[in-house]
């Protein structure tokens, strides 16, 4: 049996399972988990997954290890190599060009809005984050998105983001549509403690499944809002030996996920 999966490996496998064949996705600069999820999905149920490097424009490079999507080495094996000025129309404006995006954040809130800008007041922040770049457009315009966090605590899972830069379900209910955004929003939030989705009507975050060895109490304590729990959520199905073998042999041959997200 394969060695126990690291956090990064588990998140990549859980995301990969949710990807359908033929979907289109954009991957940002420093996106090991995202890239691993997409390349693993291509090895499994989604051979025709189409991905493009957000900054570099390379399409479907065939590497067996994780490399920043901005890296020029992706050029050699790409099917297409587009320049950013050509890409901005479908990245920043077009509705539903991308099926999904996978994003990280400083904060995610009860309705799946995300924040990568500041903690506290933008004019004198407690934590100055990196900024927004493609996040607003991907959250607003892709058919769905995922939020993938490598920590789960009350500073990350907040009632309301201090700075909304990635629109989730906004104020909940149908407020996203009323705001004029196309159908979409967050589908899953993944953390070390579990997998979370959104209740159909209220669009409030709810527990979908819990990581092995984690209790519902732990999740409640680590979440600064009332998270929806319906019945007894199942335990998350961990990566199978087959998934892990494919991941380690063909996707992350150099073990970056184990090293960076142990």
């Amino acid at each position: 049996m394969a060695a126990h999966p690291s956090l990064g490996e588990t998140l990549a496998v859980l995301l990969a399972r949710d990807i359908a064949d033929g979907e289109k996705v954009i991957i940002g600069t420093n996106s090991d988990i995202q890239l691993a999820a997409c390349n693993l999905a291509r090895r499994l149920q989604a051979p025709r997954l189409w991905w493009i490097s957000g900054p570099g424009g390379m399409v479907n490079p065939t590497r067996d290890h994780l490399l920043s999507t901005a890296d020029y080495e992706n050029v050699e094996s790409a099917e297409s190599w587009m320049d950013l000025p050509v890409m901005i129309d479908f990245i920043d404006w077009k509705v539903h060009f991308f099926d999904f995006a996978i994003l990280s954040a400083l904060q995610v809130d009860r309705f799946g809005n995300i924040n990568t800008v500041v903690v506290g007041d933008q004019r004198k922040p407690r934590v100055r984050g990196p900024g927004t770049v493609g996040i607003s457009a991907l959250c607003g315009l892709a058919k769905r998105f995922y939020v993938c966090l490598t920590r789960h605590d009350r500073s990350a899972f907040v009632p309301r983001v201090d700075f909304l830069c990635g629109p989730g379900h906004m104020e909940g209910g149908d407020s996203r549509e009323r705001m004029g955004l196309p159908p979409g929003g967050p589908r899953l939030v993944l953390s070390p403690l579990g997998v979370f989705d959104f209740a159909p009507d209220s669009k409030a975050m709810r527990v979908k499944s819990i990581s092995p060895g984690v209790s519902l109490e732990q999740i409640r304590d680590a979440t600064a809002f009332d998270i929806v729990v319906e019945g007894t959520p199942p335990v998350t199905t961990m990566p199978t030996d087959h998934e892990l073998e494919l991941l380690r042999k063909h996707v992350d041959r150099r073990g970056d996920l184990r090293r960076k997200f142990p």
């Binding site: 420093n30 900054p55 950013l84 920043d92 607003s136 457009a137 004029g180």
Partner: protein, 294 residues
């Protein structure tokens, strides 16, 4: 027969006035125009208004050196090494005015700048950005059934600093990797200064002319600056210097430590003294190679 556009790094930045709107090219740890940035700090630039493409050490160093009054922030990050240290310190103290722009804000703004339009329509994505940068975003009327739109203001830098891999003396600039926002920044800027790792003949330019992302008509000055993107990557020529980036982050813990860094690597160091301080063996080891990939 033709007038060369090649100037020294100090000549290139000499005419950038204090208070200028300065755009920076590249992308995070790729092609940051570091030789030009260091020259600008040596010159003692003040009160600049930065418009950086998603970046790392180029805007961070200018901010840390006290050259900057305000900055646009699309994305300023040290990725695996953490948050941008000087940007963070100056923003959190409230000393630095930050205009947060998202992808549509910068892309639409640059395109409006290029097109000599006052603004560009972008989708209203319901973010908090307009609240904190009303100079950059305002609502546009839309008819029933149309999507909600914002106007984003034209972005028109006075000058831009870019780094690419090679150019000829006429100013035909080639990128041996992704050009990121460089071409849009160049077209939107009043003056375009590009450092390159090497000068090549026009015949070499012609041979791979699809790589000429900035034809000579869009370029005002070329600076020959070998390893001019160090410690960031110059695609296909050398990789980023992770040891130096870590040293930089460590040296940026406070104002005093950072001043020491600047004295050593910037204020008292010409471009060639800088490369000597980094050291020949270190630079040689950054040459592009699969084995350099961890």
């Amino acid at each position: 027969m033709t007038k060369s556009k090649i100037v020294s790094v100090d000549e290139a930045v000499a005419e950038i006035p204090d208070g200028a709107k300065v755009a920076l090219g590249g992308w995070i740890f790729n092609s940051q125009p570091m030789a030009l940035v260091r020259a600008l700090i040596r010159k003692g630039a003040r009160d600049l208004h930065l418009i950086p493409a998603p970046g790392s050490i180029a805007p961070d160093m200018l901010i840390g050196a006290g050259c900057v009054a305000s900055t646009v922030c699309v994305f300023i990050s040290f990725e695996q090494f953490g948050l941008a240290p000087n940007f963070r310190r100056h923003a959190e103290s409230g000393a630095l005015k930050v205009y947060d722009l998202d992808g549509p804000g910068i892309a639409g703004g640059l395109r409006a700048g290029i097109c000599d339009l006052p603004y560009m329509p972008v989708p209203d994505l319901g973010t908090d950005l307009p609240k904190f940068a009303p100079e950059h975003y305002w609502p546009l009327p839309s008819k029933p059934g149309e999507r909600k739109m914002l106007a984003v203001a034209a972005v028109k830098p006075d000058v831009c600093l870019l780094h690419a891999q090679q150019a000829d003396e006429h100013g035909n600039v080639q990128h041996l990797g992704p050009p990121f926002f460089d071409a849009m920044i160049a077209q939107a800027s009043r003056r375009v200064i590009v450092s390159v790792d090497r000068i090549v003949s026009t015949d070499t330019i012609r041979r791979s002319n699809h790589l000429t992302k900035l034809p000579s008509a869009m370029v005002d000055a070329i600076v020959e600056a070998p390893f001019g993107a160090h410690p960031t990557t110059s695609p296909s020529l050398y990789r980023s210097d992770e040891a130096h980036l870590k040293e930089y982050v460590k040296s940026s813990a406070g104002a005093e430590a950072f001043s020491f860094y600047l004295d050593r690597y910037v204020r008292n160091a010409s471009s060639s003294a800088y490369l000597d301080a980094i050291g020949g063996s270190r630079l040689a080891a950054l040459a592009v190679s699969e084995t350099n990939l961890k």
